[in-house]
Amino acid sequence: MKSLKKVRLVLAILFFLPILLFFIDFTGKLPLFLHNLVSIQLIPALLSLNVVVVILLVILSLLFGRIYCSTICPLGVFQDIASWKSRLFRKKSKKYRFEYSKPNNIIRYSILAITIIVFIFGSSFLILLLDPYSIFGRTISQLIRPLFIWGNNGLTGILSKMGNYSLYQVEQVSFVPVAFSISVFFFVLVAVMSWFWGRLYCNTICPVGTVLGFISKISIFHISIKDSDCTSCGLCEKHCKSKCIDSDAKKVDDSRCVSCYNCISTCKKGAITYRSRYKYKKDRPVLNVVDNGRRTFLLASGAALSTVAFANTKKLIGNNESMLSRKPIMPPGASNFEHFNRHCTGCQLCVTKCPMQVLKPAALQYGISGITQPHLIFSTHVFCTYDCNICTSVCPTSALRKLPIEEKKRTQIGVAKFRKNKCVVFTDEKDCGACSEHCPTQAVHMIPYKDGLTIPEVTENICIGCGACESICPARPYQAIYVEGNTNQILAKKPSEAKKFNKKIDDFGF
């Protein structure tokens, strides 16, 4: 029984560490299959309608309670680490300082209900904000990963001065204040809550925690206290980061227990067991506890519903169109704006994996509900690589559908627009052709202009909107060629091939 905690720890490390490293890895060396670890996160699985994973997670929770929160959820493990580290800063007597507290049912059920209602009304904004995996993703990619890149670049500078090129300079993902503040806010919220109150965040705010709390109320295995052996010493209560053990009443609130098994390890009398709820039911005196949870839940949902009804739902969902000036460019595989906006939780995985770093978290380009969702921003040397479909391969929520490489090469995410009056061929009457040079499909090609000069022309139906032309156009600050994003991604025509040259040349020509 006492080894259960160790099993939990090992599992937590096995899930947490690869996910953490996968987010931090800025070299693209870690294998892409690691994205499977984030595809089994509950919200991504739900959004991508991954029925198998959802059923497995439900079964897991029905069997063992909220073990998901203690092992699979990276934000959960992150909180355990924060809570554990906080002990180093406490006096010995206060190291294990938790005490039972009542569940904040109204808050947690309201948050869950509002999140669901808003989703039903068509906006994933609250899911984006509250999904624990996505909060973790944003925290790591925007707050932790940059530190590693700084470290790498500093070290690279020193090494390359010594003629060692084993490391190389890596560009930081650009700083987006709105997205950054959201990440900081949730990072601070989660870190402070776990530092002082253990798993309070999971049991008050996190909608995933609340849902799994429902399931774990009827889970087969659960923590129970053997009345006969318990001396009500309170040791387990002090160690319970979920603050769900009432040692006086010898009760455990299953809906908040995250199956961390710390109590089992800590009990000197062996009075705490992890066993089937149903097998032992008959032995136990039926506790006459009114299950307030359900009542509160209904109350909260009612309150939430009326709030939403009163509030202007349109405002809540956000009228996205009006906020756009230049149409933002969605990553390939997003299909259309509605699908993308509804499914993306802004976890930043695609942003961290994009080898060109052309993906950036959006501020308000997609409207309020699209904050932190990725969009493409072209800058010198930064555009969408023709032969790359990494973002579509790692997306766990199906906001980006996985595109086979041949389909990716024809997926039109936007269309290049040429404004002649800004082009250096027009303004300076000199050759340039940088845009056409970089165009992978030759949708942008050079046509005769005057005096042997050539000027770009765009064939829109073979343009895929990769932005290579915009990224390299020397006309600054307003490029002569730029990409207008598609709200509906379509399949561009296949570019025609050149005529083959079949004659044999066996003379130098000079």
Partner: protein, 310 residues
């Protein structure tokens, strides 16, 4: 005799580094004085890349003529694009690998290869096949993806381009080889040895916004000129350059043009190219502009040109 040869070539190399190989080349050709018997331009046709290179170098006095024991060598191929070798967007990897091997055999302490790529540099290094070939031959691939690798250099003879940031590996080496591939080019009309120099520079945008042709001619005045321009024409890209769309853009010419003279190399390469895709030399303006900048000559007939068919 060997020792005498050595002293002779050492003296020439010494002279060359004092004056500048190009200048020496034009002096030699201009006066028709045979200071040394090596040709100014060697063209080889009909062999595999490595074989043709070895042969061309033999005509020029062997690799030892250019690389001395303990020297740091830089090779600058075209690795601009995330394309496989068959698409002829990048220099032939076998050619690069062979040169690395030859430099190593001549006692080079280090052979560094880099390019400031247009596509994702890691994918370009890998998919061009060049990284693999270089490492297998004992060379070193160096990144050029960040401004911090580049140092500013004055170009007093430049017309538009007066200064440029150039990769520090190239500034610090003892000798370097320019190793372009012959391609059609949407902007510059053709990409050969001088156009390849845009990959030693950080800010290519400046070129495009300040008369591309003049800027290319200006970068060719960079005081540290390459020991040789080795133009890969094993496969050439005849259309849709510089990236190409498919193998239909590629023509197999199995050729190689080697010269210390930028202008001569590019002129010869253009003549070879024009047999496949007729091009008006005047439209490739940077060649004439470079001649005006005194970095070489278009008059091949005045040079000692060696043509070899294998």
């Amino acid at each position: 005799m060997k020792r005498r040869d050595f002293f002779k070539s050492a003296a020439i190399v010494g002279l060359a580094s004092v004056f500048k190989t190009n200048a020496l080349g034009s002096v030699v050709s201009g006066n028709h004085v045979a200071v040394h018997s090596e040709p100014d331009l060697v063209a080889v046709m009909g062999g595999e890349p490595g074989v043709m290179l070895t042969r061309a170098l033999k005509e020029l006095g062997g690799i030892g003529h250019f690389v001395k024991k303990g020297q740091k060598v830089v090779i600058k191929p075209n690795i601009g694009w995330d394309r496989k070798p068959e698409l002829a967007a990048n220099t032939n990897p076998e050619l690069v690998g062979t040169l690395v091997k030859l430099c190593k055999s001549a006692g080079a302490s280090e052979v560094i290869v880099f390019d400031n790529t247009c596509h994702d540099w890691k994918k370009s290094y890998t998919n061009s096949g060049i990284e693999k070939a270089v490492i297998a031959a004992g060379g070193k691939m160096v990144p050029a993806n960040d401004e911090s690798y580049f140092r500013e250099v004055e170009l007093p003879r430049g017309v538009n381009l007066k200064k440029a940031k150039i990769h520090h590996a190239l500034l610090e080496c003892d000798v370097w080889f320019n190793m372009p591939i012959l391609k059609h080019h949407g902007g510059a009309k053709n990409s050969i040895s001088m156009k390849n120099l845009m990959g030693i520079v950080w800010d290519r945008g400046f070129f495009h916004s300040h008369d591309l042709h003049q800027s290319i001619a200006d970068i060719a005045t960079f005081h540290k000129s390459p020991a040789l321009n080795i133009v890969d024409a094993y496969r050439i890209m005849k259309s849709n350059g510089p990236q190409g769309k498919s193998e239909a853009d590629v023509v197999m010419l199995k050729s190689l043009i080697v010269s210390h003279d930028f202008v001569a190399a590019d002129t010869a390469a253009m003549k070879l190219f024009s047999q496949v895709q007729p091009t008006d030399m005047k439209d490739v303006r940077y060649i004439a502009l470079a001649e005006k900048n005194h970095v070489g000559t278009q008059q091949l007939e005045k040079l000692n040109v060696k043509r070899i068919k294998l």
